[in-house]
């Protein structure tokens, strides 16, 4: 096999970015193997936090989520809540113990208000794309905010229009 001198730094022939690894890791269900291979220990620990957060967020929202955004949401939320990690752990613990399959199942448990508060903060962040109160609000994403998912394909995310004359017939109500 000829040696590709232009890409000798990577096993795959393509530069391997940490964010790609992060996405791949979450995709295979939380295995920490890849990230421990590719990143220094502290970064790997941080990646574990991001994976935990993203997986918890996926449970709370019911959507497949981007761990790169997850990392940014986590940082912004942690900045405003010193006990976030413990709060998340408590929430994860109850979800795991209860064995509920999804968020609707969890809601039916009528969990402790403190746990609900943690859950709501995380859901609010992903849905609005924003963390914080109006005075210190921080935008993490606009177009990827989950609030636009239920009407995706019908209504535009303002400023990302569908193109000329793309409206008129009854919008597909099955989307």
């Amino acid at each position: 096999m000829p040696i590709d001198t232009h890409n000798s730094g990577s096993l795959t022939g393509l530069p391997l970015h940490r964010r790609d690894l992060l996405r791949a890791t979450v995709a295979v269900g939380g295995l920490a193997v890849l990230s421990s291979l590719a990143a220094p220990l502290s970064a790997a620990a941080a990646d574990n936090d991001v994976q935990d957060f993203t997986q918890l967020s996926e449970f709370l929202t019911g959507y497949k989520l981007d761990p790169v955004l997850g990392g940014r949401f986590l940082t912004a939320l942690a900045k405003r809540n010193a006990t976030l990690k413990a709060d998340m752990a408590a929430l994860q613990q109850v979800i795991k113990q209860s064995g509920v399959a999804n968020m609707d199942g969890f809601l039916a448990l009528k969990a402790d208000p403190a746990l609900m508060k943690t859950a709501t903060k995380i859901v609010s962040a992903w849905y609005l794309g924003v963390v914080g109160e109006p005075e210190d609000a921080e935008l993490i994403t606009y177009a990827e905010s989950l609030m636009y998912r239920p009407t995706k394909g019908i209504l535009t995310i303002p400023s990302y229009g569908p193109g000329p004359n793309a409206w008129g017939p009854k919008p597909d109500s099955k989307i």
Partner: protein
Amino acid sequence: MANDAYDADVIVIGSGVMGGIVGATLAKAGKKVIILEAGPRVDRREIVETYRNAPVKLSLANAKLQGAGSPFPSLPHAPSTYGDYLQYEGPVKYNTSYLRVVGGTTWHFGSALWRMIPNDFKIQTLYGRGRDWPIGYDDLEQYYNKAELELGVTGTDGQDESGQGGGPMPPRSMPFPMKQLNTSYMFDKLTEKLLVGGFNPVLEPHGRASRPYGNRPICAGNNNCNPVCPIGAKYDGSMHIDEAERHGAKLLDNSPVYKIEAGDDGKITAIWYKKPDNSEHRLTAKYFVLAAYGIESAKLLLISTSDKYPNGIANSSDQVGRNLMDHTGISMNMLTKEDMWPGEGPTELLVYLNQRDGAFRKDYPSYKIKVRNTVPTAQMTEGFIKKGILGSKLDAEIRKYSARSLNWAIDFEPLPLAENRVTPSKTKFDSVGIPVPVLYYSVTDYWNAGRDRGLQDLNKIAELLDAEVLSTDVKWQNRQHVMGTTRMGDDPKDSVVDRDCRTHDHQNMFIAGTSVMPSATCMNPTLTGAALSVRIAEQLLKEV
């Protein structure tokens, strides 16, 4: 041709649509033009990115949140009207928001571009209310044509814009420059359901291109007319400023004018402006056009005092700053039982004008009913989560309310009242020492009668749509349609400009904009201001 004794043939104060039309027309004819703007130049891409990245986004629903969400810059020498720049007095808060940037407020206007109808010019004679204009529809018709070509208006030919479901009104000698955009599913559905109740649908003429027009692409349904069209399909004043500059006009940005100087013979001799470093500069010209928006234009005249003009420039009548008007309105939110899907296509299009004109104007004001077509998602989601709605119900609620919650609003015709006025603050100044505007505003029982009549219509609409009324706001919503502060009239004792928009007191100064309107109708005034600006430019070409 420019005379070296002057800095310019014509100086235009203000770089919005009105100043832009005058500046571009004169520059194209080879006149030496200087345009001054208090604020900075802005770049569309930067404004769009600022908007997308803003954590708090301005919308029509939270427009009352002062200081929140405008992607346009606020500079110390040209503070944004979204902050604490404007001062309010009187029983009704006149919380308007205009843009102090090159290109002006049309950057964020919805772009409704209506003509007035003939009766609007003589409401005192016909209905004993308000004030007649010294000119009539026939005097303006050809200038409406020209303004529609300048601004690139899209509209529906043959429509009865007086709202009675009759023949074409007002009379037009030229078709619309562009044919109407496609209607959305919601507009069609509303048309069908409300027509049976006698509501005649009217599609708004507007400034979004429906075919390539100059440099403008076709409207792509970005649903973002306010705060900014991301693709420049919608007209804004920067387009005329660009054209003026291409033809040699000089634009001075970040240059707030703080004094207009007149000689003893009444002629305006010079204007003074500051730079952000507080340095003072003087410019002379043969003619001057004041086009700084109804609030800033009036303020500038009032602060330009001297021994000879103790009440300010153009103010021998004491009418400068008075008769401040707006289409002060109300709104109602309702939830329909079937999916309607507001938010497809442009942010507004369908209106109801059954009460635009008639003998009722003796008793209550004319009004326009409109349905907002903005994507509503962002405004509702936070509320759902705060109410504790999570899980699959959250998506279901977002979808249901996005599809079914409609916001209706009414704009009423105001009366010109001497006490409603713009004055310069005596206590608050911007960073270069210019007083900020103080706005006193109130409404009368005439407006209240309109509110009550309008609510009947909104309730009837809810009934026809089989909709549940979610909320009603009758607290004097500001519509950002500033009019009246330098009104037009034949008598110099009770008006500021004559029928040509020339100041009675100063033969070489004109005022361009909606501030010259003696009465306001219930319709968006930009096209009327633009038609008058075209007319000023043509007059100047004869004289300069």
